[in-house]
């Protein structure tokens, strides 16, 4: 008969230890630099990714740009899938995800935003969203492009 208990304990400790220590590392370092720097870093990474969008993808035309329901549907999808990190009003969250109302994001082409949605920014914590059908990613893109620069109240709400 096997004495299985040491195995169980070992793997339980290993899981909790590695999981939480690894997730804690980037947050701790960002914390030292302060929230503003962290937000800047996130934006910088995402901005870089927007700039790195391949030309062909950057120039893609949003097929739902004139769809009257696209913004409302995109808002629904955004709140369902994206607000966890970017905040309900897309103002971003310190240490988590950038403000999508910033000029750098709003100046990007719909194709570039769609490309980032599709490919994610895996190294910096944004998952790929190609699991959503292409039409739904365009709906989210349409919503993001419809956002206005934030008010103070929205910025506060987004940071909660």
């Amino acid at each position: 008969m096997k004495n299985v208990f040491p195995f169980r304990s070992f793997f339980l400790v290993l899981l909790i230890g590695t999981g939480f220590s690894l997730t804690a590392v980037p947050i701790a370092s960002a914390h030292d630099e302060g929230a503003m720097n962290s937000e800047h870093d996130h934006l910088h990474h995402h901005h870089n990714v927007l700039e790195k969008t391949p030309e062909r993808d950057r120039l893609r035309v949003n097929p739902l740009a004139n769809d009257p329901d696209a913004i409302a549907a995109g808002k629904k999808l955004f709140e369902r899938h994206c607000a966890v990190c970017h905040g309900k009003t897309a103002e971003g969250r310190p240490h988590k995800a950038p403000n999508l109302r910033k000029d750098e994001v709003q100046a990007a082409t719909p194709g570039a935003i769609f490309w980032v949605l599709t490919n994610g920014v895996v190294r910096h914590g944004m998952p790929v969203w190609s699991k959503l059908p292409e039409a739904q990613r365009w709906q989210i893109t349409t919503y993001i492009k419809s956002l206005q620069p934030s008010t103070k109240e929205e910025h506060h709400e987004g940071s909660q």
Binding site: M1, K2, V4, F7, R8, F11, L15, T18, G19, F20, L22, T23, A24, I27, A28, H31, L64, D69, A72, A73, G74, K76, L77, R80, H81, V84, H95, T118, N119, G120, V121, V122, R123, H124, G125, M126, P127, V128, S130, K131, L132, P133, E134, A135, Q136, Q139
Partner: protein, 312 residues
């Protein structure tokens, strides 16, 4: 025929009671913690055996319960069930704990072991085919019947032993899979070759496969929030089976199953999955009726950090 209980089992109730209390405490803690968290709504695939290349969102915890009713020729039908705790450690790394059990009708209910699974996304960007490395350690006893994967020469008779006998043997296994998946025009297609090694040196490598295809009922989302919108339903099918072992590879002397599958992603955070499976040859069970319920909690990692006092 069920043999009489050995004398050594007299001490078991105490051990089981202690184990039961620990398990109850763990489940209770998770339930209380989860009650303090917000839900997140993900887009889950309908697959129960096959994996696509999508990871759990970083920091989210998905709690899943699955149940499989299985018919058994030459023995008692049974219901096998497992609980999964799936955590997104990183955007490229998902780690998951399983606790397995089963109830064999006219026999007994037994805890059959646990599994620790890790999935690593190998490429950062989306490509024509997206590979994910799957590594799992299993510690299960011979009464394990969840049929989460079919490997080697798995056949229906393997599940016919009575629980008091089957539960005595414990296996330690390492399971490797290469998860290959592609999403295109709303469809997802996934292929998972499987390689399993019982950590006992005398056991050969065993092989298996799972393939799946799925698609949402609607590709565009509706503007209104609704539980029954077509985009919330994903239909698909899986096929899975064994491929023999290193000494005798191939499709022979093993079982294969075909299983239509459906997922209903409810905006409140719940996902319901249903998948009836059918044995494709006489080596397999005739019917596997699977269903699952899962709930995703956002920012579980952040809650843990707060709980253990990390400054925000």
């Amino acid at each position: 025929m069920i043999p009489s209980q050995p004398a050594s089992n007299v001490a078991m109730p105490t051990r089981r009671t202690k184990r039961g209390k620990n398990f109850g405490f763990a489940v209770g803690s998770i339930v209380i913690l989860c009650a303090l968290l917000h839900n997140a709504s993900a887009q889950e695939s309908p697959y129960i055996v096959t994996y696509d290349h999508y990871m759990e969102e970083p920091g989210n915890l998905e709690v899943e319960y699955f149940s499989t009713f299985v018919t058994q020729r030459g023995g008692n039908d049974f219901r096998a069930y497992w609980m999964e705790l799936e955590y997104g450690a990183k955007a490229w790394w998902t780690t998951e704990f399983y606790f397995d059990g089963q109830t064999t009708f006219n026999d007994s209910s037994v805890f059959t072991g646990f599994r620790w699974e890790n999935r690593f996304r190998l490429l950062q960007l989306e490509h024509f085919i997206n590979p994910v490395l799957y590594v799992e350690y299993e510690q299960t006893n011979g009464a394990d019947k969840i049929l989460k994967e079919i490997e080697g020469h798995d056949v229906e008779d393997d599940a016919a032993d009575p629980n008091p006998i089957a539960r005595k043997d414990w296996d330690h296994e390492l399971e490797l899979k290469l998860l290959l998946s592609k999403s295109f025009k709303g469809w997802n297609v996934a292929v998972n070759p499987l390689f399993t090694k019982n950590l006992s040196p005398s056991e050969p490598w065993e092989f298996g496969y799972a393939i799946g295809a799925s698609r949402p009922l609607a590709l565009k989302a509706s503007a209104k929030t609704c539980n029954f919108c077509r985009e919330n339903f994903i239909l698909g099918a899986e096929m899975y089976g064994g491929l023999g072992d290193a000494e005798s590879p191939g499709f022979h002397d093993t079982s294969h199953y075909l299983a239509p599958a459906m997922a209903w992603n409810i905006p409140s955070g719940w996902t319901v999955r249903v998948s009836p499976g059918f044995g494709l040859n006489d080596n397999g069970h005739r019917l596997l009726l699977r269903w699952g319920l899962s709930y995703e909690f956002e920012s579980f990692g952040d809650a843990m950090k707060k709980l253990f006092g990390e400054r925000q």
